[in-house]
């Protein structure tokens, strides 16, 4: 309903005032004054109502217009490009196809309007239910990741099953892991401790878990040879886990009396504070074998060089690409990237672990084929293959 304007309200009120003013009594004057006040109030209220309702009607239009890109203006001249680009960018998360957007635009044009803004609004309103990602539970742009994950999962399960059935699995020699026994043996001969650093990340990182798995094996050796094992940690959860893992190894070898929980200690969460603490331990205890297995950053070279200066045999392993050169330069053996994750299978020789490793290798072979195919297709000018593998 259209609200009465302030002028109309004033016109309706004026005759009433005039009639009242014609009376000569004081009562009439008083009435006049009261009515005048009432009229003024009504006029004011009417004006306010009008202003408020007009502003209210303009607000949604302004909000809608704000969503329309600035270059979408004027009359439609048959140029779809601007509209296509604007609509695709609005639903970028769902990334509608150009052909679909063209159909939406032609539908909007068929309504008879030639105003660009109006065409955009109609097309966008029709596209919204289809491309509104807030109501979806699956991001189809990650379908490629899901398929690759399922494939890897199937490979791992198949080879794990084969390994359990007794199929023999070959695993190549990994220098760094083969040298663990040599390193612990050297420390035993020299009567010095073994130092193990499980990286500077928490237990939520797979590299730390891989490092802690190797710690179990190192602890078995130190328990057998009765060599002290020092594990300074930068995270309390890693310390608790390391204590449990080392304790288990000492229990399995029947040397629980040699287990010293105080040798597996927390230093600090601070990166360089930890480096200072570990360097101090190295200078005081002079370990004969140092293990650096886990996540490392700038501290990698500081630790490895200090270890070199105290004359320790050093074995490092990390998947941090920028730290690998430092370890290669300063340590005797380095586990590069995936070798760190293969350590658990290599050391335990458990069929399940070996099967998982084999599944991983088959997936790697598949990736090599995909890369070669991708190179050929991109060189030939077919981008569909590479585009499918692009993730969001």
């Amino acid at each position: 309903m259209i609200p009465p304007t302030s002028a109309a309200i004033a016109q309706q009120a004026v005759p009433t005032t005039a009639e009242v003013l014609s009376a000569s009594t004081a009562e009439a004057n008083l009435k006049n004054a009261a009515i005048t006040a009432e009229v003024s109030s009504t006029v004011q209220k009417g004006a306010e109502t009008l202003a408020t309702e007009t502003a209210g009607a303009e607000k949604p239009a302004a909000a809608e217009d704000a969503n329309i890109p600035k270059d979408i203006a004027g009359t439609y001249t048959g140029d779809d490009e601007k509209l296509i680009t604007a609509l695709i960018s609005q639903f970028s998360a769902a990334e509608p196809l150009t052909e679909e957007v063209k159909v939406l635009i032609s539908d909007a044009v068929a309504t008879g309007t030639r105003d660009m803004k109006e065409i955009y609004k109609i097309a966008a309103s029709k596209a919204a239910p289809k491309y509104d990602m807030s109501k979806r539970y699956f991001n189809y742009k990650r379908l490629n990741v899901l398929l690759a994950g399922i494939l890897l999962f199937l490979f791992i399960n198949y080879y794990t099953y084969s390994a359990r059935k007794g199929k023999d699995m070959f695993i190549r020699k990994i220098g760094g892991l083969a040298a663990i026994d040599e390193a612990v043996g050297r420390a035993t001969e020299m009567g010095k401790p073994v130092l193990f650093i499980p990286g500077i990340y928490d237990m939520d990182d797979i590299q730390t878990i891989a490092g802690v798995s190797i710690l179990g094996h190192v602890a078995k050796k130190t328990a057998e040879y009765e060599t002290p094992l020092l594990v300074p940690c930068t995270r309390s959860l890693v310390m608790s886990t390391a204590q449990e893992v080392v304790k288990e190894s000492y229990l399995k070898t029947g040397r629980i009396d040699s287990f010293r929980p105080e040798n597996i200690r927390y230093l600090t969460d601070d990166q360089f504070g930890y480096v200072a603490g570990v360097d101090g331990i190295m200078m005081r205890e002079k370990p004969a074998a140092n293990f650096y297995l886990g996540v490392f950053f700038a501290e990698s070279l500081i630790l490895a060089e200090t270890g070199h200066h105290v004359g320790a045999i050093q074995i490092a392993g990390t998947a941090m690409v920028h730290q690998i050169p430092f370890f290669v330069a300063a340590c005797d053996y380095t586990l590069i990237g995936e070798e760190l994750f293969a350590a658990s299978a290599y050391l335990s020789r458990e069929p399940m672990q070996m099967g998982a490793l084999k599944g991983q290798d088959v997936a790697k072979f598949l990736i090599i084929i995909v890369i070669v195919l991708g190179i050929i297709m991109e060189t030939a000018g077919y981008h569909i293959f590479a585009n499918w593998f692009a993730t969001n």
């Binding site: 807030s134 991001n139 994750f341 991983q360």
Partner: protein
């Protein structure tokens, strides 16, 4: 009440009750296989599954944010509790070293004094307090910078050992390193220009060759390592989720 708030409150209450039960029943429960193995494996599997599902949910969906908020809060809670374990270990070990008069006990005294003074000041006046800021700006930061600066000297000593041309591979490494180092400084280009024949070819300029080594050889090597490492990450995650890899759970006895 918001569903998420209700769920979080429920979990907090659940874990508090579980913690009290574990502490109360003590050793009887310590030997329980369910609590030591099966429950952690189940929690690990469920959380892993939830996080994998989150990856495939569009970020615009409110559920994505709910899972994100939920996991972030729990990480904060667990980290805060685990810090207490670390601090107890730190103080206990150093107090024990001091009381036993073990070798190098003086360092333990320094650590304990530093720990208690900064904790006291920090708790009394907060992180923005003048004395705590003084400790941070004039003690903590310079000490941290000192440790970091040592790296420069260690890079030189490690490079000196790595670049000794003892084998064919080491010689190739040395040549590549010299070219890259020359390509990074102005003087390198000037020196390069004096090399007969090569120095006069513009497209064989040392800065270009240096960039080419970085773009082609280094990037190719790094990507190969990353691919292998990523597959290792995923395979190791599957092993943990499926319970094939259990070594991180510690003792079975």
């Amino acid at each position: 009440m918001n569903k998420l708030v209700f769920f979080n409150t429920f979990l907090v209450v659940f874990f508090i009750v579980a913690f009290i039960l574990i502490v109360t029943l003590g050793k009887a429960l310590r030997s329980s296989m369910f609590l030591r193995r099966k429950l952690p494996l189940f929690v690990c599997f469920m959380m892993g599954l939830i996080m994998i599902c989150q990856f495939f949910i569009p970020s615009e969906n409110p559920l994505y944010k709910n899972i994100d908020d939920f996991s972030t809060k729990w990480i904060q809670i667990i980290t805060s509790f685990s810090l207490v374990i670390g601090l107890v270990s730190l103080v206990t070990i150093n107090l024990s070293k001091f009381s036993r008069g073990a070798e190098d006990w003086q360092y333990s005294i320094v650590l304990l004094i530093g720990f208690f003074i900064s904790s006291f000041i920090g708790l009394r006046e907060g992180l923005e307090g003048p004395n705590f800021s003084f400790i941070f700006n004039y003690m903590y930061t310079p000490m941290q910078s000192t440790m970091f600066s040592i790296l420069a000297f260690f890079v030189a000593s490690a490079a000196f050992r790595a670049f000794r041309a003892r084998t064919r591979e080491a010689t190739m490494l040395l040549i590549a390193a010299v070219v890259v180092m020359l390509g990074r400084v102005e003087l390198g280009s000037i020196l390069w220009s004096y090399i007969p024949v090569i120095g006069s070819i513009k497209w064989l300029d040392v800065s270009f060759v240096s960039q080419w080594i970085n773009d082609v050889f280094t990037t190719a090597g790094q990507r190969a390592i990353l691919l292998g490492a990523s597959l290792g990450y995923i395979a190791a995650s599957f092993k943990i989720l499926l319970g094939i890899e259990k070594s991180y759970l510690g003792s079975e006895e």
